[in-house]
């Protein structure tokens, strides 16, 4: 095909049953000018080497499964154009995560952190569906909307130095999610979540690297969420001294 150009892919490979440590493997394949990195991986998987393992699904940057390191930066591979790179592209599994196989990383650690922030509406009394919806003004929606856009692609975890150094740290996506519920006008669980935020590995572990927001493909800006949460958790903590009762809502 004449519109195809050759590119070299240096891909991290790891099979726990065979390899002591991850190694790299090089593939030279013809690519089309409009391809994303993921298209190249799929081409390799389909036509060159069926043993390559990677996760992907929606290929439209919303399912969040194809996050990998591309030339050292965490990227959604379905959204990353090959034309932005030179003749050699390095693809590896996300940093800061244990690697299960090739480009597939361990997500269970994240799932625990995710659950720890209680990402659901907490209310003393829930309404029955027959009573209709809660009123929420567009401004109240706007207050948390941005933080609800996270697709759990894990790029922020791969970029954050604190995640790699402090294993207890809840991390950007989980905190942004908890903060999203704290800001939701329908929710009453902020005291509970702030407690989690104040614990070891909570919001105060963040050291302002701002990397999460730099790499976020969905402009969630987790750094903003974490630092807002720091402030609100302090306010909440101070309030708990003034009126201890206000903690139970």
């Amino acid at each position: 095909m004449s519109d195809r150009q050759k590119k070299t892919f240096v891909i991290t490979r790891f099979d726990p049953d065979k390899d002591e440590v991850p190694k790299t493997q090089t593939y030279e394949i013809p690519v089309r000018p409009d391809w994303k990195v993921l298209d190249a991986l799929n081409f390799i998987k389909d036509e060159v080497d069926g043993t390559l393992s990677h996760r992907w699904s929606c290929r439209m940057a919303v399912c969040g499964s194809c996050g990998m390191m591309v030339n050292g930066e965490p990227k959604l591979t379905c959204k990353t154009a090959l034309s932005d790179y030179g003749d050699t592209v390095e693809v590896g599994p996300l940093s800061n995560f244990p690697v299960i196989r090739d480009l597939v990383v361990e997500l269970e650690g994240f799932m625990e952190k995710f659950k720890a922030v209680k990402p659901w509406i907490l209310r003393a009394k829930e309404k029955a569906p027959e009573e209709g919806v809660y009123r929420q003004s567009p401004a109240e929606l706007e207050a948390f909307k941005q933080f609800s856009m996270c697709i759990n692609c894990m790029l922020c975890y791969a970029a954050c130095p604190v995640v790699g150094n402090e294993p207890d740290y809840l991390g950007p996506a989980a905190i942004a999610l908890g903060h999203r519920y704290n800001l939701d006008s329908r929710d009453e669980g902020d005291a509970e979540r702030n407690q989690v935020f104040r614990e070891e590995g909570g919001v105060y572990s963040c050291s302002y690297a701002n990397e999460c927001s730099e790499v976020c493909p969905k402009n969630v800006d987790p750094a903003a969420a974490i630092n807002q949460a720091k402030f609100l958790a302090v306010v909440d903590w101070a309030k708990s001294f003034v009126s201890p009762r206000s903690r139970k809502k």
Binding site: P16, D19, V21, G72, F97, V163, E166, A223, N227, V235
Partner: protein, 147 residues
């Protein structure tokens, strides 16, 4: 090869069901890319510590009397002191740029209790204005123009 991360980073509380390769830190960490600026930001903590101690000396000298005060100002003329202070000034300005002007605005929650936050767009100019005002005030006071 990048530095290894903490072996427990992003691991589940019970180990996974198969052997995994250990997590590594982001490949450019800490010396390259955006991390360099971040590490510089971290290193600026030295200026916060030392300048704080320097101001402790200033207070001490003021309490000790005119000779001590003049002696301190004379010491400050020493090239090492001057070099440090110029570096510290740069460090504080760098920190201000990174923290105060880039991160601070978006770190403000939409509302604190009953108080709504001003729109995000106006916060950086407001901060800039506050910075100019504070700096000008200190200049005037120490210049002798006020009070």
């Amino acid at each position: 090869m990048a530095r290894l991360a903490d072996p427990r980073a992003m691991s589940p509380s019970r180990p996974g069901r198969t052997r995994t390769a250990p997590p590594v830190m982001p490949p450019l960490f800490p010396a390259r890319g955006r991390y360099r600026s971040y590490m510089l930001f971290g290193a600026c903590c030295v200026f916060f510590l030392l300048s704080s101690l320097l101001f402790l000396r200033v207070v001490d000298a003021l309490a000790a009397g005119p000779e001590a005060w003049d002696d301190l100002l004379r010491q400050f003329r020493h090239p090492l002191y001057l070099a440090y202070n110029v570096a510290a000034l740069a460090g504080f300005v760098f920190t201000a740029r990174r923290f105060f002007f880039q991160l601070f605005a978006k770190s403000q929650p939409p509302r604190i209790g009953p108080l709504p936050r001003p729109p995000l767009a106006v916060l950086p100019p407001l901060l800039g204005a506050a910075w100019v005002a504070a700096t000008a005030l200190i200049f005037c006071i120490l210049w002798g123009a006020f009070p």
